[in-house]
């Protein structure tokens, strides 16, 4: 084993983050530590507003921790970069570009070195995969929410980042499309060997896709439990019928529910507490 292998691909090291708000400091992430190694698929799950997106955006390079360190390839994260692809919770499809131009956006950037001849082919490929071929020349204003989400996924996949940060990437999709997208992601991973950090609200999705699940608490996000998912890859949908899957699901659901209740208790207005 050489030294390079002992460095984690990404690492949260006693990370806390506070936002300064007009009402004072808001602690959003508290003392979070975990590592992500090459080929890992980390799912992060926790109640809404607890700080998941904030946690991810530190690794993406958009927020700096107040204390602690966020490392990528052993170096503190300084800013965003193409080796860390991000699928944003708000999609961020470019409204002034057509569907096809959105997918081509990354391919045309100098940093990605995609030869002119291949760009079109890559675009067509993802248009087909994401079921957007009929809308190749439409502007995003003509797309449904789910289609925009698929477009954001296509745009991120097209530049083939080694590390993918996905913030509820399938949240706006119907059950069938969602299952499709999950299977597609598993296929892409098998073919391209990516490392993934995925934020989700779906316990099933977390178990089905990931190798490790980080359950976080209500705000401020602390680590409640890190669970190794005991299933190998490749996976298919029959996995979800296995009894172990069901047991794990109940266990995680219980963890998530208890945090959800904690959050509700926090939110309850003072007048109700008496």
């Amino acid at each position: 084993m050489n030294i390079a292998n002992s460095i984690h691909r990404a690492q949260f090291d006693r990370v806390s983050l506070e936002f300064k708000t007009p009402k004072g400091r808001l602690r959003v992430v508290e003392d979070v530590s975990y590592e992500i190694n090459d080929g890992d698929f980390i799912a992060v799950i926790g109640p809404s507003g607890c700080g998941k997106t904030t946690m991810m955006s530190m690794l993406a390079g958009f927020q700096k921790p107040t204390t602690g360190k966020v490392l990528f390839d052993g170096q503190p994260v300084k800013g965003p970069g193409p080796e860390r692809g991000v699928i944003f919770q708000e999609y961020g499809v470019f409204p002034w570009l057509t569907v096809k131009e959105n997918i081509a956006f990354g391919l045309k950037l100098k940093a990605n070195h995609v030869p002119l001849a291949e760009r079109d082919q890559i675009c067509e490929h993802y248009l087909m995969l994401m079921g957007l071929a009929d809308f190749a020349n439409s502007y995003p204003k003509h797309l449904s929410g789910g289609m925009r989400q698929r477009l954001a996924i296509a745009r991120a996949y097209a530049v083939k980042p080694q590390f993918l940060l996905m913030d509820e990437p399938f949240g706006a999709l119907d059950a069938q499309t969602r299952a499709n997208m999950q299977n597609l992601l598993l296929k892409v991973l098998a073919a391209e060997g990516k490392t993934v950090m995925l934020i989700t609200h779906s316990v099933e999705e977390a178990i089905y896709l990931s190798s490790r699940i980080v359950v976080v608490t209500a705000r401020p996000a602390r680590i409640k439990q890190i669970i190794d998912v005991p299933f190998g890859y490749p996976r298919d949908e029959t996995l979800q019928e296995r009894p172990e899957f069901g047991e794990l699901r109940s266990h995680i659901r219980e963890l998530v529910m208890s945090e959800y209740r904690a959050q509700q208790a926090q939110l309850r207005p003072a007048s109700f507490s008496e």
């Binding site: 993406a60 390079g61 958009f62 800013g79 965003p80 970069g81 193409p82 860390r84 692809g85 991000v86 944003f88 708000e90 961020g92 470019f94 409204p95 002034w96 570009l97 956006f105 990354g106 950037l109 100098k110 940093a111 990605n112 502007y139 995003p140 204003k141 745009r155 991120a156 530049v159």
Partner: protein, 256 residues
Amino acid sequence: MDGSVARRFLLGLAPWAGAVLLWYGVRWSGFVNPSLIPAPHRVAAKFVELLLHEGLLFDVYASTRRVFLGVVLGILVAVPVGFLLGWYRSARTFADPMINFFRALPPIALIPLVIVYFGVDEAAKLVILFYASFFAGVIVMYEGVSQITPLYIRVAQTLGAGEFEIFRKVIIPLTVPHILTALRVALGVAWATLVASELIAAQRGLGALIQNASTYFLLDVIYVGIICIGCVALIMDMILRRISARLLVWQERAVG
């Protein structure tokens, strides 16, 4: 011509027809001394007369040229300045009071100073129009630019865009709508300021026409001048709206 085009044309015409009717109505109602309100047909006759014998077209040209140049120069400066103010929050807190101070000054109040510093030639009139366009444009620009969300820039960064690529491929497309709005607002303000700018010893121009007519109490000429200003301003705005619609097909509109 198909039915829907014809209908839209008629719909567009209706309020004008209504305005003319109202004009006649007020005149005939007896509430106002009819000698103070020239009849629409007399104004129309005056229009033809001025057009054929007094070179009205040259007045239209002179004014349009002034407005056009004033707006173009004003916006050329307002775009970069407004952009910087919108982009750098600190620049804004620093320049905001200044801009609002100067913006509040009515151009007409500046005329004596402009005459002192720029004389009474074409340049002086342009300075007034430039002033008005610049301050109208700069506010629209910086309000617009400061509302650009960082999301798209972040997306571009995670896809690997460098600084220059972000500027060219993200910031410019996001700024174009604000430039067009600034142009439209500046154009409106410049037309509104035209008469004031032509107070400075102008021989020709629609503002000069109106002022000369007011000296001799030629109400019909005043009406012709006012209507011409409105019409040219309307046409320029329509052209600009066409261009905007072309450039901004991607924008979501409340009404298609």
